[in-house]
């Protein structure tokens, strides 16, 4: 009697989702509406999270500082300068012939992050080592861009924070840093001007 009335009016059935063989009477229209409404609200809430998370990414003005030009004419052999690019320091260093040959003499297979000097510089410009001045360990600025600073055991760079040592190709040789000093994107605009970024 009462059960037969449920069958006649699906919205008067008990709120059971499931097929008849599972003991339920099958979904009601109200079940469909509930699920549809909650799902829609869920999608809406998830959509609101996107801008809330994305606002944390670098803003347009931060990204706009994307390229700089550096004058190389005043850099003496064996020395270098630090320039700021995207608010981060970059080493522009002019290697001596001895430093170039030291870097080339290292067997690449023995390195923690195997790369040759040629892979880290531009063809014909192997004496211009341009790398980020950001230690790949925890981001300190290594010492050694000018000859007066501590260059570590490998003649390249020495990070004062946790003692990472880089060679004359800016490759990690000793200490906690996992990677070589990162080489930014750059191109020679002329013999004495380089554009970073």
């Amino acid at each position: 009697m009462a059960t037969s009335e449920y069958v006649d009016d699906p919205n008067q059935r008990p709120p059971v989702i499931g097929a008849k063989e599972e003991g339920g009477a099958g979904p009601r229209r109200r079940d469909f509406l509930n699920i549809a409404a909650v799902s829609f609200a869920g999608v809406g809430a998830a959509a609101v999270v996107v801008p809330l998370v994305n606002q944390m990414n670098p803003s347009a003005d931060v990204l706009a500082l994307a390229s700089i030009e550096v004058d190389l004419s005043k850099i003496a052999e064996g020395s270098g300068i630090k320039v700021a690019w995207r608010k981060q320091p970059v080493f522009v260093r002019r290697l001596t012939a001895k430093e170039v040959s030291e870097a080339n003499a290292v067997p690449v297979g023995e390195l923690r992050d195997p790369e040759t000097l040629a892979q880290r510089t531009k063809p014909g410009k192997e004496n211009w080592l341009i790398t980020m001045a950001v230690c790949t360990h925890l981001g300190c600025v290594p010492l050694g861009v000018t000859p007066g600073e501590n260059r570590g055991d490998f003649g390249g760079y020495f990070c004062p924070c946790h003692g990472s040592q880089y060679d004359t190709a800016g490759r990690i040789r000793k200490g906690p840093a996992p990677k070589n000093l990162q080489v930014p994107e750059y191109a020679f605009k002329s013999a004495s001007v380089v554009q970073i970024g």
Partner: protein
């Protein structure tokens, strides 16, 4: 909450009766920190430090709110505005020194509170949830303190931010995008400073919320006590007010004296002079150290200098540092000894004090440069830290022969009083 013999709140004044019927807030306070909360009668002064931590948080919130009225959260102005607070704002030097040293006091008090919990087994059943919430508060405190230290935008602020956000770049594959996302740039700058300020203002209130949960969870089983023996009846407890409000009041007095000495005579003793140099993204200070309360964890971070298996040293360090704290979440289940108080656990008592020394050594290593012999000592001390929780404590819990516990709190207390009250030579004879 708590015990059936707790005093019942009975408002007498008609206004209080009216209030009790509409919003029983006075009743809540009465039952939480008034006469309605029965507390073991034998608490020693180490039980003051929870209240002292609350006092320290209040000092930080009050001074922080007024400092925010004078601070400019912009990378061009932050350093100058903090100098302005120190020189130009009326009483600004005092407020800033209170906030700076208040943070140190907060950590001193919380570290004693944590070690109190370790000694007396406060993390054990039935108070595991109290301990877990406490670890959450500790993590929130560390995040808040770190972000606060960045705000003056000095050299240590900047390079601390660089190094600490650098932890996240150790995550495989996603590390660099996460690092950039956290900073809102490729290095700490205006975006990072602003979000740190926003969160530094928010998190203390989150801490206050978790403290409410911490106290709520504590008041369900009731406070522990130095014997670790459960409360058995009304003779074992006294009402929180006036007994422990008075005792805590004395503790607050001592706290204030220590705070005042630090504040007025050594305001920069726990700071770092490099932070009075404006942030310079092109030059790293020769020796970066975090604030003293992070030294032990910094030492664990730096204990890993070589790659192990396929995991780079950098990731090992970061994992070890985070797990050194996350480990505390598992402590209630690592220590299975049924006896809570180290007073009745001769082996654990020794292990406890060795851990205290080990953490002090880690702190000393964290402040020292990354050179030998500090690196090696730090590695041994870091290894011992993990061994304490993962090996020593579980093994002690299995093999230790504990001392007999007193029958009840009141017996342990009154026994002593009978001895003292008796004439010489009579009391000990019984």
């Amino acid at each position: 909450m708590s015990f059936p013999w707790a005093e019942n709140y009975e408002p007498k004044h008609p206004l209080m009766k009216w209030m009790d019927a509409k919003l029983p807030l006075p009743r809540l306070v009465y039952n939480a920190v008034g006469a309605g909360y029965p507390v073991p009668r034998n608490l020693n002064y180490f039980w003051n430090f929870g209240v002292l931590a609350g006092v320290a948080l209040t000092i930080q919130i009050v001074t922080g709110i007024v400092l925010a009225m004078h601070f400019a959260s912009n990378s061009d102005m932050a350093f100058t505005s903090v100098e302005g607070i120190m020189r130009d704002v009326n009483g600004g030097w005092l407020l800033r020194y209170m906030h700076m040293n208040g943070a140190s006091m907060f950590f001193i008090v919380v570290y004693i509170h944590i070690f109190r919990g370790l000694f007396y087994g406060s993390y054990k059943a039935p108070r595991e949830m109290v301990w877990l919430l406490g670890v959450v508060i500790f993590l929130l405190m560390m995040a808040t303190a770190f972000m606060g230290y960045v705000l003056p935008w000095g050299q240590m602020s900047f390079w601390g931010a660089q190094v600490i956000t650098g932890f996240f770049s150790a995550i495989p594959i996603l590390g660099d995008p996460i690092h950039t996302w956290l900073l809102g740039g490729f290095a700490p700058d205006n975006a990072a400073l602003n979000r740190f300020f926003s969160l530094h203002y928010l998190l203390p209130f989150v801490i206050a919320g978790v403290i409410v949960l911490h106290i709520w969870a504590l008041h369900i089983p009731g406070s522990g006590n130095p014997t670790g023996v459960d409360v058995k009846g009304p003779q074992d407890t006294v009402p929180f007010h006036p007994y422990y409000t008075a005792k805590d009041g004395f503790g607050v007095g001592v706290f204030m004296i220590v705070f005042a000495i630090l504040l007025f005579f050594y305001p920069n003793y726990l700071g770092h002079p490099d932070n009075y140099i404006q942030a310079n993204p092109l030059s790293t200070p020769a020796h970066i150290v975090p604030e003293w309360y992070f030294w032990p964890f910094y030492a664990i971070l730096r204990a890993f200098t070589v790659n192990w298996f396929w995991i780079p040293a950098k990731l090992w360090g970061v994992l070890a540092m985070f797990s050194s704290i996350l480990l505390l979440f598992f402590l209630p289940w690592l220590d299975n000894s049924p006896v809570r108080s180290a007073n009745y656990r001769p082996a654990y008592r020794i292990a406890f004090w060795v851990l205290v020394v080990d953490v002090l050594i880690l702190g000393w290593i964290g402040k020292s440069p990354a050179e030998e012999p500090y690196v090696r000592i730090g590695q041994v001390a870091a290894m011992y830290y993990f061994a304490h929780f993962l090996l020593i404590v579980p093994i002690i819990a299995m093999v230790e022969k504990t001392k007999p516990l007193p029958n009840s709190i009141s017996e342990s207390v009154l026994h002593g009083e009978a001895e003292e009250a008796a004439p010489i030579g009579v009391g000990s004879a019984h």
